[in-house]
């Protein structure tokens, strides 16, 4: 009985108390409540950051099991690569200035930034892939999606607005009128659903927070 309470019910009570506190503070911003809320904000950041080494553990474990299945030269290379990168960045941060040291910034800019900037452009090709493979105009909805997309694309590419100036206001209209209408409807419904999930969580009926053993 007591075991069930400690292992299952007490965390739910905790969720309820903390959640209600934050909500009450929003409507009745008493200084004491606001102080508690600010403290909670710090707590969440600290908890999340203290748990950071879990990531290292899970990454290492998956790498290790992968190596066990694939004990070839390439297997070893793939196994060791992340750890080499890890050490390299730790060394970079060992210089004076921690993560602001010029050494760390050099690594960060030339390795991480290059990867991020390239990765952000890759979806372009997958969008083209989707347009070619998956996107078939076989219903009025698909037509609407394509029209919305193309008209706004034309507005964004100067060549089209140069060749056909009316495309500019038309694209702008798509952005500011039907796009706003559809987006607003979706956002309102998502927000309502989120509130219901929130209330469900507060009263301890959200399965994902109850059942975890």
């Amino acid at each position: 009985m007591a075991e069930v309470f400690i292992k299952r019910d007490l965390p739910l009570v905790l969720i309820f108390i903390i959640g209600i506190l934050v909500i009450i503070e929003f409507f009745f911003p008493h200084p004491a409540l606001s102080a508690i809320k600010a403290e909670l904000g710090t707590w969440t950041v600290v908890i999340a950051n203290v748990s950071i080494f879990l990531g290292l553990f899970y990454m290492s474990y998956a790498q290790y099991r992968l190596l066990q299945r694939q004990k070839t030269l390439s297997g070893y290379v793939y196994f060791i690569t992340p750890f080499v990168a890890l050490c390299l960045f730790f060394i970079g941060a060992a210089f004076p200035g921690y993560t602001s040291s010029p050494q760390y910034q050099w690594l960060y800019q030339n390795i991480y930034r290059a990867q991020v900037a390239m990765y952000v452009s890759l979806p372009l090709f997958y969008c083209y892939y989707a347009a070619y493979r998956a996107f078939r105009i076989r219903s009025i909805e698909a037509l609407a999606l394509m029209l919305g997309g193309l008209l706004y694309t034309f507005r964004q590419i100067p060549l089209f607005t140069y060749l056909c100036p009316p495309l500019h206001p038309i694209g702008e209209w798509v952005l500011l009128v039907p796009n706003v209408a559809g987006g607003r409807g979706a956002v309102i419904c998502v927000a309502l659903a989120s509130i219901v999930v929130g209330l469900r969580t507060l009263v301890g009926k959200e399965v994902t927070t109850i059942e975890v053993r």
């Binding site: 083209y128 964004q156 100067p158 060549l159 140069y162």
Partner: protein, 283 residues
């Protein structure tokens, strides 16, 4: 017609997608190497963006909340460089502060290198101030509006704000005439709305990525006076402000690259409808 024989539609449908990838890359490379120089029209939000700055009385104080991201710099660099030039050309007092670490790095890369304030006769501490980086989230933004010194007691070099001539009489939102809010996470526009527009009715301009344009649009022109989204807005600002920069070349390159999309769309649908209609016709 035997079953094994492939029609033209089948061939189109089974085309190796990598040809389209290659075509796209070539289409992007051409204008980068040899710019085309296609004219650009300036859109309403950009016109209003420029007008708001242009109409500020001399000596006005402009705060730039700069949450730049290095990985996404390509998209916004044209906007930044054009804006810095426009701000320095005018008689304005500019305060830069960075809620992201990357923002500070970008300012280091730009001010004094790509845009030199001295060329416009501007002096640090008198015409502009950099407060540096502090990981302030939304609560920090609210605190900044109420009391700048509570968040940034010193500038980026560690000089106390009271020792900087320009900052003498600048303490809170009351002393700021315009906020320029730059962000890369689309929903961050609401931070500006919640912390500056709603409580203080502060004139706010925003700068963001192209993909965040649709999210910023509903707030314009009531709550935000104008916004820049994407490198094309940067190119437009270069034109309307008369400050040439990298945006124009970039926009040029997009002119051709988009044809990859149009080709894929046409080929995909041609294959689909061709197959379908020829099947219906054959039966």
């Amino acid at each position: 017609m035997s079953m094994s024989e492939k029609t033209i539609w089948d061939k189109i449908a089974e085309l190796d997608i990598r040809w389209i990838y290659l075509l796209t890359i070539i289409l992007i490379v051409i204008p980068v190497v040899r710019p085309l120089g296609i004219p650009i029209l300036v859109s309403e939000p950009v016109k209003d963006f420029y007008k708001t700055i242009d109409e500020l009385p001399p000596g006005s104080v402009v705060a730039v909340s700069f949450r730049g991201s290095l990985g996404l710099l390509d998209e916004q660099e044209a906007q930044f460089i054009a804006l810095w030039k426009i701000l320095f050309q005018r008689d304005l007092k500019v305060i830069f502060y960075s809620p992201t670490a990357d923002g500070e790095i970008i300012l280091d890369m730009h001010l004094g290198k790509k845009v030199r304030p001295e060329d416009y006769g501007k002096k640090y501490g008198i015409d502009y101030v950099r407060l540096g980086y502090a990981p302030i989230g939304e609560p920090g933004e609210a605190a900044f509006a109420l009391d700048i010194r509570s968040v940034f007691p010193t500038d980026y070099k560690g000089t106390p704000l009271d020792e900087i001539p320009m900052m003498k009489n600048i303490n809170s939102w009351k002393d700021i005439d315009l906020l320029i809010f730059q962000y890369t996470s689309c929903t961050d526009v609401e931070i500006a709305i919640r912390q500056w527009v709603v409580p203080y009715n502060m004139p706010v301009l925003t700068m963001t990525l192209g993909c965040c344009g649709p999210m910023a649009a509903p707030y314009y022109p009531k709550m935000i006076k104008g916004f820049l989204s994407g490198s094309i807005a940067g190119a437009e600002l270069e034109i309307i402000g008369g400050v040439p920069g990298p945006g124009a070349a970039m926009t040029d390159a997009k002119n051709l690259g988009i044809f990859g999309l149009i080709v894929s769309l046409i080929l995909g649908n041609l294959a689909y409808w061709g197959r379908r209609l020829s099947k219906e016709g054959g039966e």
